[in-house]
Every structure is written in structure tokens, then in C-alpha cells.
């Protein structure tokens, strides 16, 4: 949203408030609008200058206000993405022997990632991620919570932690209309992402497919139902709700009415359009690629513009035990186009400075290729060494952190453990990584484990924090 558009919203809302339609309607609408304003104020405060009136930044150290996590569920091969080893031979490289040079001297990435190769100055690569876990669930939990499962506490995903800190200062009376933590499009399941922080910090999973028209965001967009039908239904609901009329003005009914107005603002009002990639021009949509992933990246950018704090793009299909190369030839160009467009677009809009983009899976894949049947050129789970891409929000671009050995099997230099990356993200968001959270049982829980808990660490990513 441009400054001009925002100014129009401000004027529009001001006009509505002025046009008094009776005290109750006014106050309710006002509360509703304050919800939106609170939300916009969060992310746009530095750019517009009026946000500070609504929201005081808890920590002036914060460089970033939002995170886009691109989660390559299944675990992509480090060799075939950001850590190519062209000299390791056919049993390690397979078909990919000609890595792309990037616009940063000395940084090579997979040959299918030609768009990302043009903007390597905008992101950094970590080639020494490690934890040694080879099972999906445990590794996914560890990489996203910084904790090993099984010690009786269910830890929250870092998205829930970030949402928790970000919403502590929001007006509790009218929480933001657009959920602060969004997953595109399906939740990760099994492990509750909110952990002990509780259901309030669970992400909103959109469902649907942003590459299809319309993007059927669960609860917000209903394909086959027109806006006119929605309005007619709403009218009928109000007509037929006899108890509501009989009990008008009582607290439970007022609460329902307020929740309903917020819901309809997403269904019929402007808030819901945040999720709609069709609001963008054809050129912009094409730039991201018309795949589900590409359009998810575009929606993520739109959500960041509207103050959403944490977006996970749950990008599946990287668990390539069989026919790895066939799948990679299909997926890598899709990843390349969407991710490169996202980073460039954020940069062009001045949003990359305040938005962290983090792309990785739960682990890497076995460097040695399983050529034999039934794998026919497959790669298996590999937690000893994998890669991550980070950009924006205070992370420098054009850098490489750490190194793997000549076959990409083990960390050769500067190990980076999940807590190192998560802790660095917290720090950039102005959240002290050594702080504690209060468990509902009353005791304090460290945000990330440290050496006293036996957790290995290679240290925060100081070398790429500007």
C-alpha cells in the first residue's frame, strides 16, 4: 500500500467516524477501525510517522518487524541448491555439474537458480547448518523451535514466539483483524505450532490455492458465492436472529456483534483483500510465477505490507528419495522465480530492510546419490550438513557463512545450529535471545536453550548482522 492509498484510508475512515449514526454504531465501528489502525501502525510506523502515536516500539534495537519463512518441507539437497560441489564427481553431483555464477564474486549456486544468481548481493547463504537429526518430525521441531522434543514441555514455533512479543503491546480490546501469524496454505500439523503459549498464538492457515482464481482463503473467500449473496445472507441473518434483538445491548450479544463485524470486514471489506493476489497487476503476478509457491510469495509480500508479523510458506515436495533429479528440474525453477521475485520486490518497495526472508528445510539430503533401484537416483535424509538462505531485516547480503567439506557431507568450518539462526532472527526483531517466557504452570522457560542445557552452539550470526 502506498502512502497515498494509506492517506485515503485515513480520510475515508475519518469521514465515517464523523458521520455519526448513533452512539453504539459509532463506538463499535471506531473500535473496529482502531483494530486495523493498530495493525497498520505496527509496520508502517517508521515510514509514515504517525504510527508511534498508536504503538510504541518495545525495543529500539529492532531492525526487522516481520519474517517470511519459506519452509522447504521434506529437506532439499544442499548440493543441488545453495552449496554446489561440481568437483565431487557424478555420484555426488549427478546431472548438476555447471553451477551458476552469481552477481557476487565467488558465490556459486545451482544452475537452475538463474534468477537468484542475479541478486546474490541481497541475501546470504549459510552452508554449515547442522543438527545431525535425520527424522522429519524431530528435525522440523528442532529447526523451528530450537528445542529437541520430549522433555515434557511443548515449545512454540518461532513464529508464535515472535507473534507473542509483537502483540503484547497491542490494544487487547480490539485485536488486529488480519491475523498476525499466517501460514500459506496448509499448517505443518502434528506438532502444535503455538506450544505452551496456547491457541491464541496459533497461525491462521489460509487453505486454498493462491494460484487459482479466486484464492479460497478459508472463511474469507468462498468460491461460488458472490458479494451480493454474502450481503443478502448477512441481512437475512440479522433479520432472523430473534434472540439478538431481544437481548440487544447485553455484553454477550455485543461481543458477538463485534466479532461478526470484524469477520465481515474480512469477508466483504478491505481487510480480506490482503490475501488476494488478483489485486496485483498481471505483470507483478507473472514476475512471481503463476505456481502455488510463486503466488504464495506474492501474498506473503502483501501481508507484510499490512503488518503481518510472521508468514510461513509451507512449500512441500522436497523429500526426494526417488527420482530426485526429475523432481529438482521441476521444483528449482519454481523456487528460483518466486523467491527471487519476492526478495527483489521487497527491496524495490523498501520493505526488505525490515523484513527477514528465511529459506530452508528441516535438513539436507545425502550427498552420495542412491542410483540403485528402487531409488533410481534418489537422495535420503541428511541432518549433518545443510544450507539456509537469509535476507533482509538486518541480515547482510552477498555473504557466505561457514563451509561444508568437499563432498558437502559434514561441516568443515563454522557450524551453525538451529538455535544460532533462531537467536539471530530474534535479535534482529528486537527480542533478546537470552530472555525467558512464562510457562502457564508458572515457571520460566528460556527462549532458546544454551550451553547450560547442553545445547551446542556456534554463536549468533554476527558476521552477517549489519
Amino acid at each position: 500500500m502506498t502512502q497515498l492509498e494509506l492517506a485515503q484510508v485515513v480520510m475515508h475512515v475519518g469521514g465515517e467516524e464523523a458521520a455519526s449514526e448513533g452512539a453504539r454504531t459509532l463506538s463499535r465501528r471506531l473500535m473496529l477501525r482502531r483494530g486495523i489502525f493498530g495493525l497498520l501502525g505496527l509496520s508502517l510506523a517508521p515510514r509514515l510517522g504517525w504510527g508511534h502515536l498508536l504503538y510504541a516500539q518495545p525495543n529500539s534495537q529492532a531492525k526487522a518487524t516481520a519474517v517470511i519463512q519459506i519452509w522447504l518441507w521434506g529437506g532439499p539437497s544442499q548440493l543441488d541448491t545453495f552449496d554446489p560441489k561440481p568437483k565431487a564427481g557424478y555420484d555426488y553431483c549427478g546431472q548438476f555439474t555447471q553451477p551458476s555464477r552469481t552477481n557476487v564474486d565467488g558465490i556459486l549456486i545451482n544452475e537452475q537458480l538463474s534468477e537468484l544468481a542475479k541478486i546474490a548481493d541481497k541475501y546470504s547463504l549459510i552452508r554449515s547448518m547442522t543438527h545431525g537429526i535425520n527424522s522429519h518430525e524431530t528435525a522440523a521441531y528442532l529447526v523451528q523451535t530450537g528445542r529437541m522434543p520430549g522433555d515434557r514441555i511443548v515449545y512454540p514455533h518461532l513464529g508464535a514466539v515472535i507473534t507473542y512479543f509483537a502483540t503484547q503491546h497491542e490494544n487487547p480490546v480490539s485485536p488486529s483483524l488480519i491475523p498476525p501469524y499466517v501460514v500459506l496454505t496448509e499448517p505443518q500439523g502434528r506438532f502444535s505450532e503455538a506450544g505452551f503459549l496456547g491457541p491464541r498464538y496459533k497461525p491462521f492457515a489460509t487453505g486454498g490455492d493462491p494460484a487459482r482464481q479466486p484464492f479460497a482463503v478459508e472463511g474469507i473467500i468462498t468460491p461460488g458465492t458472490t458479494e451480493a449473496q454474502q450481503r443478502r445472507r448477512r441481512e437475512m441473518l440479522q433479520e432472523l436472529d430473534t434472540l439478538r434483538k431481544a437481548m440487544q445491548g447485553t455484553p454477550p450479544i455485543e461481543e458477538l456483534v463485534q466479532a461478526e463485524e470484524q469477520a465481515y470486514d474480512l469477508i466483504l471489506g478491505d481487510s480480506g483483500k490482503a490475501f488476494d493476489p488478483a489485486q496485483e497487476s498481471q505483470e507483478v503476478r507473472d514476475r512471481y510465477g503463476r505456481s502455488t509457491f510463486g503466488q504464495s510469495c506474492l501474498v506473503a509480500r502483501r501481508l507484510v505490507e499490512r503488518g503481518v508479523r510472521f508468514i510461513t510458506i509451507n512449500y512441500k515436495g522436497w523429500d526426494t528419495h526417488k527420482e530426485h533429479f526429475v523432481i529438482m528440474r521441476r521444483k528449482l525453477p519454481e523456487l528460483d522465480r518466486g523467491l527471487a521475485a519476492l526478495i527483489s520486490d521487497l527491496a524495490e518497495r523498501g520493505l526488505l530492510e525490515s523484513t527477514i526472508v528465511w529459506c530452508s528445510g528441516e535438513f539436507g539430503r545425502t550427498p552420495k546419490i542412491a542410483w540403485e533401484s528402487p531409488w533410481n537416483g534418489g537422495r535420503h535424509h541428511w541432518g549433518h550438513c545443510f544450507s539456509a538462505l537469509v535476507a533482509g531485516g538486518g541480515f547482510k547480503g552477498g555473504q557466505v557463512v561457514g563451509a561444508s567439506d568437499e563432498k558437502g557431507e559434514y561441516v568443515k568450518d563454522r557450524p551453525v545450529y538451529p538455535t544460532d539462526l533462531i537467536g539471530s532472527i530474534y535479535q534482529l526483531l528486537g527480542i533478546d535471545p537470552t530472555t525467558t517466557l512464562r510457562h502457564p504452570q508458572g515457571h520460566l522457560v528460556k527462549l532458546i536453550p544454551d550451553s547450560n542445557d547442553g545445547a551446542p552452539s556456534g554463536g549468533l550470526l554476527k558476521e552477517i548482522i549489519a
Partner: protein, 547 residues
């Protein structure tokens, strides 16, 4: 009624005889509910929620509640209409929506004692045990994993034991004594799981759990010495695993405890009321404690349970919160509490009798529409408080209407769990098995046993889900339960059927008129429009809230 010149606004205001004629046309003789009361806010509109007032005391509870209201100058609500009572008592007592037939036959029943007969029938229903086993599952923290780790086999054994105890109306003192004193395998002696379903198995942790669960109090706020004294009674429990996966023996094990402590076992224990009692090698100290706890004269015990059940039925305790009883949190009606405690003991700890007593009171049967703006009206039970349905009850009601199922999952990877779609949510025994809907609608995680874990406040996200999610819309548009509505014309008969199915009552003439008007008075097959009506009714506050 279908005359094109009919003015809906005039119908909206009509009360008394004219409405009565419409009701006669519909074959309903409950004229009483049509009589508009002299409500403070809705003086001229007919609504189907009240019977003529003022309320008259029906039993001793009312004889204690009503004079207090009079004394405070708070006008109580009118008695509820039959329709409101019917729906309320089904949802409150068995967590289940009445069917169309059940609603119709109750509303048409002319027996003046039909309310108390219905209460008796519901207390004997299978769903009574299921629904209250759900509530006890919350209190006892019955879940497989994280952070309570009962594991699936033990959860099944424990939940079944709880439900069977409720179904056979086991006297409450016996129920608690079995939970507190059992020893044996978590698979074979289900009540031993009480001592496993806690985040803290230290003697003090167990004492806190016992105090919270059966005394309704937070022992962490006690003087530390009292808690330490109570912990002594739970200091000789040991937990032993066996060769069977996740089996655990919970037992009284003084020798092990003595070895652990490295000193002689205490010869005396001090009970929370300060009484010093001898502890011997012949008797499990848990039994000493349990026998003290369940004595009729022990104020902690009966007060906590009668207050908890009152809280479950009214949404607020006479002492509130019901699990935070302390000297500086006094009851609003000590006399009502005392009466209920007396009745509980007199009945031989018959909880069903306690429900019967409360449900038959006029206080419970008041209309939800307050007649006083006094802020004390709520704490003095001057009306029945409107509350959003429990997550489980709400989704079960929607599934019942649409004859659809739910997609459940377990957060535990092993053993892999498949729950049939037809499973009703109120009958889920394991807090680790859940659905998207239950998570969104504030089902308690069963981590602590606090009543406050259950959150029934509506949120924008919930509203969005009910109004417009594919989950709910698909049930309404494709569920076999509403197949008839997709193939039926909109007329007074089909609208009446829809109202009975969804709102458990007949539509008022005014509502009939509104629905007819919405459908454009069309005589064509209704297609989706009767489903639109169903959508509106399911989304009405009357459906979503107990009232």
C-alpha cells in the same frame, strides 16, 4: 399469512390474540410463551423466550435466592418458555441438541409436570455420562501426551472408568476415595492414573493437584507449612514401569519412600484443618487423607463439588472461580451452598440428585433476558446467563443437524490413531485427540485442570469460521441431514421443521413472515434458499449460545 398485502411491521408488534391465532393454525397450544412480558428493553415485541412472570419459587433454592433479590431490589427475569427450557436442559445436561421429534413432542406435551419428567429422562441418558465424563476429563487432565503423559492405553482405561462411574451414579465420596487410594497398573486399575495425570509428581505437586481437584482450592496460595503437611500424605507413592510398553504401577511403597528419604517415615501427619493424625505402617497415608477428606462434616469436600456443579450449570459459581476457593473469595449465597451440601450428604453423595435439585429450581429455569440493569443481577442469578456453547457441544449440534462427521487427529505420532468421523466430540476421551474446529473454539488443552482453560468467548476467527468456512458451508450444503431441505419448497411447514431441527422450537408468526419474505414468497422449489435459512439459523445467537 401469505397475503401480499401483509405488513410485516404490524406483525412484528402484534401480541396476544392475533399471535395466538397463528399458533393455533400451526397446531401449537402454548399460548403462554406468546405473552410478551414487561421487559425493560423490549416492551412491545413478542419473542418466544419467556413464560408469563413473575417467577414463583419451586424449591428451597428459590426460597433462598428470590428473597435476596427482593432485598437488593433486583427484579428477576421471567420464567423461561418451554422451548427455552427444553433446549437449555438438553444442552446443559447431556451436551446434545434435542432432535426435531424430541422438540416437537415436548412442546406439544400438555402435562404440567413435563419439565421435571424431562429432567429425569435426561439424567438417565447415555449422553449424560458421556458429557460429564468430558467435563471430568478436563478436571482430571485426561490426555495422552504433552505435558500430561498418560499415554493412549491408560487414557482409554481411565476415561472409561470415569464414564462408567458416572453412568452407574457411583456415590461421589466413593468416586473420590477410589481415585485417591487406588494402587496397581495404569491399564488394569484405571483410577491410579489420577496420580499420573499431573505435571508434577512430587509429594507437594500431588497435594496441589488433590487440593485443586477435590477441594477447589489453589494450595500454592496456602501457608507453605500447610501444603508441606498435606504433601506428607502423598510422599509414599512410587511409580514402577513393567515389561509392557507404557505400563506403570502406581502403589503405596513405604519401604521405597523410607529408603529414598534416608530416614524414618513420619509417625504423624497434619491434615489441612490442623488435625494431627497418627500414620502407621498398616495404613496407606493416602487412605488416612481420603477418609478425612470425604467425611460429611468436612466443609472442603462437599462445598467444592456442589459449587462446581452449580458453576457447570450456571456458568458461574456461588464461589467464583469454582477452583479458587479461599477465605477472601466469599460465596455470594452461603445459605444456598450450605443447603446443597446438606442435600448432597443426605442423598448419600448422589450427584444426579444434586443435578435434579438444581435443574428443577425456578432459578435455573429463569429466562435469559434480564429485567434489571443492576450489575449485581448476574452474581445473584437473577437470570440465566447466555454463554457460547462448548466447542464440543457446538460442533456436535451442527453435525447432528447435517448428519455429517468430523475429521479428528491425534498430535501423537505413535501409536497412529484413527478416529471414525462419526465420533461425537463430547465423547472424545483423549485431550490429545482433536480437530481444527475444537482447537479454534477454545477446547481446554487439559494441561492444568483449571476451569479457566476452557474459553467460550467468541472471537472474530470463530465468527469467520461459522459464517463462511468451507467446513461449515459444506455441511449445510451437502450434509444428508438437510437433504430434505434442499428438495422442499419454502412454506410454513418446511420452515417449521427447520426451526424445530435447528432452534428446537416453533417459529413465531413474525419469523414465518420474515422467512417467506426473504424467499420472495416463491412457490418454486426452494433450491438453496431453505439452506440459506438453515445457514442463518445456525449462525444466529440463539443457536450458538446456551440461553
Amino acid at each position: 399469512m401469505q397475503s401480499p398485502n401483509f405488513n410485516p411491521q404490524s406483525v412484528y408488534r402484534v401480541i396476544g390474540l392475533v399471535s395466538l391465532r397463528f399458533y393455533l393454525v400451526l397446531g401449537i397450544l402454548t399460548a403462554g410463551i406468546l405473552t410478551a412480558g414487561q421487559g425493560f428493553s423490549q416492551q412491545s415485541e413478542a419473542h418466544p423466550y419467556e413464560a408469563p412472570g413473575p417467577p414463583k419459587p419451586a424449591n428451597k433454592i428459590d426460597e433462598l435466592i428470590f428473597p435476596r433479590l427482593a432485598q437488593l431490589g433486583i427484579q428477576p427475569a421471567n420464567p423461561s418458555s418451554d422451548a427455552v427450557f427444553l433446549r437449555r436442559v438438553y444442552l446443559d445436561v447431556i451436551g446434545t441438541l434435542p432432535t426435531e421429534e424430541e422438540a416437537r413432542s415436548f412442546l406439544e406435551d400438555k402435562d404440567p409436570n413435563k419439565r421435571s419428567r424431562l429432567i429425569d429422562r435426561l439424567l438417565q441418558r447415555e449422553e449424560f455420562a458421556e458429557y460429564w465424563a468430558l467435563k471430568w476429563g478436563d478436571v482430571l487432565r485426561i490426555k495422552s501426551e504433552f505435558p500430561i503423559n498418560l499415554w493412549p492405553n491408560a487414557v482409554q482405561a481411565y476415561a472409561r472408568w470415569v464414564e462408567a462411574s458416572i453412568a452407574q451414579n457411583k456415590p461421589y465420596d466413593q468416586f473420590v476415595r477410589e481415585l485417591l487410594t487406588a494402587s496397581g497398573s495404569n491399564f488394569r486399575v484405571p483410577p491410579v492414573n489420577f496420580y499420573r495425570a499431573t505435571q508434577d509428581r512430587s509429594p507437594e505437586g500431588l497435594a496441589r493437584t488433590v487440593a485443586l481437584t477435590f477441594m477447589g482450592t489453589r494450595a500454592e496460595n496456602w501457608p507453605p507449612q500447610r501444603l508441606a503437611d498435606m504433601a506428607v500424605f502423598f510422599s509414599q507413592i512410587s511409580y514402577k514401569s513393567t515389561g509392557e510398553w507404557k505400563e506403570e504401577i502406581v502403589m503405596w511403597d513405604p519401604i521405597h519412600a523410607a529408603a529414598n528419604e534416608g530416614r524414618k517415615l513420619p509417625e504423624f501427619g497434619v491434615l489441612p484443618d490442623g488435625t494431627k493424625v497418627p500414620l502407621t505402617e498398616e495404613k496407606d497415608p493416602r487412605e488416612v487423607f481420603a477418609d478425612w477428606l470425604i467425611r460429611p462434616e468436612n466443609p472442603w469436600f462437599c462445598r467444592a463439588i456442589v459449587n462446581r456443579i452449580w458453576h457447570w450449570l450456571f456458568g458461574r459459581g456461588i464461589i467464583h472461580e469454582p477452583d479458587d476457593i479461599r477465605p477472601d473469595n466469599p460465596p455470594s449465597h452461603p445459605d444456598v451452598l450450605a443447603f446443597l451440601q446438606y442435600e448432597l450428604v443426605r442423598s448419600g453423595y448422589d450427584l444426579r440428585q444434586l443435578y435434579r435439585l438444581i435443574l428443577n429450581s425456578q432459578t435455573y429455569q429463569l429466562s435469559p433476558i434480564p429485567r434489571s440493569t443492576d450489575p449485581q443481577a448476574a452474581t445473584h442469578f437473577a437470570y440465566y446467563p447466555v454463554r457460547r456453547l462448548d466447542a464440543e457441544v457446538l460442533i456436535d449440534a451442527i453435525c447432528q443437524i447435517t448428519e455429517t462427521g468430523e475429521d479428528y487427529w491425534s498430535m501423537i505420532p505413535e501409536p497412529y490413531t484413527i478416529i471414525p468421523e462419526s465420533q461425537r466430540s463430547i465423547a472424545l476421551s483423549d485431550g490429545s485427540i482433536t480437530s481444527t474446529f475444537l482447537e479454534l473454539f477454545g477446547r481446554p488443552p487439559r494441561d492444568t485442570g483449571y476451569e479457566s482453560e476452557r474459553i467460550n468467548r467468541i472471537t472474530a476467527g470463530q465468527r469467520l469460521h461459522l459464517l463462511n468456512s468451507s467446513h461449515i458451508l459444506r455441511k449445510l450444503e451437502q450434509g444428508p441431514g438437510l437433504e430434505w431441505a434442499r428438495n422442499t419448497r419454502i412454506n410454513s411447514e418446511s420452515i417449521t421443521r427447520l426451526y424445530l431441527t435447528i432452534l428446537s422450537r416453533f417459529p413465531t408468526p413474525d419469523e414465518l413472515e420474515r422467512v417467506m419474505r426473504y424467499s420472495g414468497g416463491s412457490s418454486r422449489r426452494s433450491g438453496g434458499s431453505l439452506i440459506d435459512v438453515a445457514w442463518a439459523l445456525v449462525n444466529s445467537s440463539e443457536f450458538l449460545y446456551r440461553h
